[in-house]
Subunit: 126 residues, 6 copies
């Protein structure tokens, strides 16, 4: 898969997420709600749970999920070397099959950190 810019990823995801949230299926709606709730502050801070979500997404090799948690991690003020630590745990646990996702994630993180620095990260879309 050719890699996407953050802007492209964000726009695609927002459009599809808006459609999904219109579903009439109550079970699906409730999973979406529980998913959002899982990353709110609780016994662990939300920002720590974003790192758990990032690591889980990397070992399960889901680019969209990785991009989403990278965005949230950057918004939550995690630094590059800290995020790379989480990526390294995912790489060790998940093996070299994770590398193509890691390659795209490292590039996306560069872009997210640059947008953050320039104050252009915009508003999150859940």
């Amino acid at each position: 898969m050719a890699d996407q810019s953050f802007e492209e990823f964000h726009a695609d995801r927002a459009a599809l997420q808006a459609r999904l949230q219109q579903t009439k299926h109550l079970g699906i709606k409730r999973v979406l709600t529980l998913d959002t709730a899982a990353y709110r502050d609780g016994a662990l801070p939300g920002r720590t749970k974003e790192m758990l979500g990032l690591t889980a997404s990397m070992v399960l090799r889901c680019d969209d999920c990785i991009n989403y948690h990278l965005e949230q991690a950057v918004r939550a003020e995690w630094k590059q070397d800290e995020i790379e630590e989480a990526m390294n745990v995912a790489l060790i646990v998940g093996g070299s099959i994770v590398i193509p996702h890691l390659r795209r994630a490292v590039r996306m993180l560069d872009e997210l950190l640059a947008l953050k620095k320039a104050g252009k990260l915009g508003v999150a879309v859940l």
Copy 2:
């Protein structure tokens, strides 16, 4: 991954499938035959087995497989709310890592149902 229209998916898949079916490897040919046979009417109707295939494809997170079984499910007259029930089982079993695939599947299903209604679904390619 940016999402594809049904037409694009269908054309790409047909071209690659035609090439695959020309393989000289007897083992590969036989798996393709067994795969097709698994969804024919038997002790369970073929249309029920399409829903089993859809659910399996969602928990294993294979967009091409999801698209294929969605197409077959629409051809077999399953309704939107019934297909969403199968998707919900896949979402519950497979977790939020399934959501990016669910987002694309919900959009693809909209398109397939519109094509079906307009009588433009065309002929299936196995």
Copy 3:
């Protein structure tokens, strides 16, 4: 893994499930509730959704989940040849890596059908 009798599986699962349900974590409680709800009658009958759950469990290769859905499928009056059809879809989709689970599932199904016939299946534990 040596295979377990249904009685052993059932007792182990019930004890651990009772402990899990005492969790104080609201998110975990809610997932358990949604999981149970997903197999109730809706746009699709509950018994059809048990077959979706069985197929999903087989391709994801989870013996405990397979045993649970086999039990529910037998309670819901699915016949051996119908359940084998679902297993065949899972085997085709998931490949020979599913075979060790299929071997255990076929033996467990024999036992469940014999218990059902003898009126000794007892009460389900959610």
Copy 4:
């Protein structure tokens, strides 16, 4: 799988790990070393990385790995409600297929916390 006590798990794992570490294959030795190093203090504290490892192990559904990281998490003074938060992220991301592992993990955590309280957790085996 019937669940194991911590003592049984620990003894089995230690014996097999001792054999593995005698391997003459340099590549395997180096992976073992890198795996241990990944959880040492770095840009993120080691104890945070144990929680990442626990979450990754749960979504990948590896009981031995879950038990190991639970042990390390308890040694690192994470509390029950904090560990349950990590488990909840894993359950949300990974879905109900994670539940059998969660059931065993919750029981194992009870045992580990009791051993910790009684000062009987003993020495870790890497």
Copy 5:
């Protein structure tokens, strides 16, 4: 999972495999046949394909499949250091989540090589 001796594994597998082969489901029977055929001599020697099967089984983390292909690899005169090379590829590709399976595989391989040396490996069960 506590590890099994080769003899226990072999007896359990043979009993369950005998039952599976009695299935009346034609699709299941055909997959079993294709699975056996895939490891016969062809454009690649059968013994090379056993190593492919071993590596695939390790990255997919299926102990029964690993044990089966280890047995076939030892029967096919692969040496310990050659089999460890295949295991190392699986470990690199699949990551540390493979380690619990690798630990059991290394012990099983010791046992298989000892049985082979003593002329007590007996007859294979497909």
Copy 6:
């Protein structure tokens, strides 16, 4: 996913790999080194281990990894029918969920063999 030409794949991968190799994280650097080392000549020839890597990549369904090992397999003088044998093992072990990856792999292999024949395969990028 629409399929990519080898040239597109190669250029994208090279750019992202160059960025990844600049990482300051020592753990990530070391995994990259170990990954490369795993396919060097050892107790098994490197070209045999490329076939193990290809099979592992197919059952784990990673297109980038499949493309990479296909390229290496063609460079190492494996013939089409031999590579199809490895693909067949992956298809049997991994099931029909592997088929979309197999379709793309068969097309990529055609292209790689044509480039090889025309002396235009160029230089490998690790």
